[in-house]
């Protein structure tokens, strides 16, 4: 319990720091959003009026507090480019990015873990060579290129796949899958190629430990040794890796949404940056960091679920 409380405090402190950093970065960034909104021809009084309207004439700390209040209540101001509330824009795009990220993660988990177990059980020279080449390849392929290959060979040949754009789940589940699956694979394949080795190593690490010998000495069959004890113990280091993977997957969505023209947060982020749409950029950055910090928090909580040494200390 003390552990969970400590993690919650850490979570809140991290979020406050993140908000401070995000806020300060946008103070020192070049480019004046007011000028962009009004055009270079605007006169001083127009500028002053708009500043007052947006609260930009207030001292910085007041602006910060207002902004944080907005974050908490879900009011992030209005987008300069789209003239719509930032929260609304995010709400439109979030389902796309979240489906993409979750499906990617699901693919990584259901492939990398069994694959890691499989190769841990069968250690030999040949499979080691094959698998490290796969890893090298997975690391070397740029994701936009992999995305294009998938479009070319799968997207063009099977009508199931939509190669550009998004279909909401509420409209058609098959349609949504058809739109999400290829981008998800684009992010998942390099992740799997690199990360299944961590799973393998985590399992081999466990197999060397004394407790495994004790379990075998009780006459427990190898299946139980692996799937009850070793896998459960390996989940602790594997969880750390999946924390990392999740952060990388969230980052991966930004590029892949471009390749597949998915109307997600990543696409919105790139548009908003090129228009110096500061309220929108700030909102997106906060949401992305919030998700990453939240995942780390959940990973920490899961540790305590999996490991009684953490839970009961």
């Amino acid at each position: 319990m003390a552990y969970i409380i400590r993690r919650i405090i850490l979570f809140v402190v991290t979020m406050v720091l993140v908000s401070l950093i995000t806020f300060s970065v946008f103070q020192v960034m070049p480019g004046d959003p007011i000028r962009i909104m009004l055009g270079t021809e605007a006169d001083e009084t127009q500028v002053e009026t708009l500043k007052k309207q947006l609260g930009l004439d207030q001292p910085l700390y007041v602006q910060y507090i207002d902004w944080v209040k907005g974050l908490v209540t879900g009011d992030l101001g209005e987008s300069i480019r789209f003239s719509r509330p930032v929260t609304e824009l995010l709400a439109d795009r979030l389902p796309v990015t979240i489906s993409l990220a979750l499906i990617t993660l699901l693919i990584v988990v259901i492939v990398a873990i069994p694959l890691g177990i499989f190769v841990a059980k069968r250690q030999n020279k040949l499979s080691d060579v094959v698998l490290s080449s796969a890893t090298q390849l997975g690391m070397a392929i740029p994701s936009f290129w992999l995305g294009m290959l998938l479009i070319l060979y799968l997207g063009m040949n099977f009508s199931f796949f939509t190669i550009s754009g998004y279909v909401p789940w509420t409209q058609s589940v098959a349609g949504a899958l058809g739109a999400i699956l290829l981008p998800a694979l684009t992010i998942a394949i390099p992740q799997i190629a690199v990360k299944f080795r961590y799973v393998r190593n985590a399992i081999l690490e466990q197999l060397r430990l004394d407790y495994v010998r004790t379990i075998r000495s009780k006459g427990i069959t190898e299946k139980f040794v692996m799937y009850k004890h070793v896998l459960r113990n390996s989940m602790i280091p594997i969880l750390t890796i999946f924390g990392l993977i999740t952060a990388e997957v969230v980052a991966g969505t930004i590029i892949v949404e471009q390749v597949f023209s998915l109307p997600g947060i990543g696409q919105l982020l790139i548009t908003s940056i090129s228009y110096r749409d500061f309220p929108l950029v700030q909102g997106i950055v906060m949401y992305i960091t919030f998700i990453v910090v939240l995942i780390n928090f959940l990973v920490d909580i899961l540790y305590s679920v999996l490991d009684p040494r953490i839970r009961l200390n």
């Binding site: 004394d210 407790y211 000495s217 009780k218 006459g219 004890h229 040494r309």
Partner: protein, 342 residues
Amino acid sequence: MNTPQIKSASTKLLQEDLLLEVKGLKTYFKLGKGKVAKAVDNVSFSINKGETVALVGESGSGKSITSLSIMRLIPKPPGEIVEGSIRLEGKELLTLSENEMTEVRGNEIGMIFQEPMTSLDPVFTIGNQIVESLMKHQKMKKREAYEKAIELLKVVGFSRAEVIINEYPHQLSGGMRQRVMIAIAMSNNPKLLIADEPTTALDVTVQAQILNLMVDMKEQFGSSILLITHDMGVVAEVANRVLVMYGGQIVEEAPVKDLFLKTKHPYTKALLKTIPSIDVELERLDSIPGMVPPAHLFPTGCRFAERCVHVMAKCREENPELMENSPNHKVRCHLYEQVGGI
């Protein structure tokens, strides 16, 4: 030795008491580059029903690998049992399938290890780890198995067994964990209990308790014990018979009294000098300079020759055989090769 009629008669008589018979066991480790560590190199011995046999020797002499070979728990690769026979009540263990072997482990043979701190699975409760064995071998239902587990914990000395059963290994002390290990090892009334230095990692004050507990359990369940230890004080206290191991081979075997009073092998004599410092880890013997040769570099002659105070020219050329030149007392040493010895 030259009277086969008498010998076969005596073995027949022994047959009924015979529990474990190890013959010509060789367990080797492939180290790469063609090097082979002969961790156990032609070891033969037997254990009778109800008997406590001690296996002694310095670190690296092959005691643990001998016991793990009996359980068929040698890590392969790099290890492998390359030759020999291990019979439990006449049943050959080395030809059993892996599945059949799981019916022997934890059921007919129980084992306790040296490292109580790391020998239990850290993420499962004590209860879970005891019932696992009961459910496998006695086909108990979960409920029944937990009741039996509480009973077992009480037998090994936990008064708060109902609480302990839900605790995790890290919540217990080393001595308590070793009690749990004993409860697990004895849970299915094994015929043989193998204890590999069960008290080495424990506080001196706890050592005697654990040892007494093992002896009590043995008497209660009528099991035999193979006790691996380097503590000659413990040997004197609990063993019926002693096997002395050096460089992967047995160098002396005798009933406990003979071993202490009519010690033959120079190595055993050196070991016995360590008794006053009972709790000192027997990493190497200070009374004789040098160390156990590594298992891939055994000399062609006697493996103890380098460190032996009685070393002769012959010792460096030829490894002596293990010979029984007085009743029940075997020794592997050129000094005793003439009948009667010195």
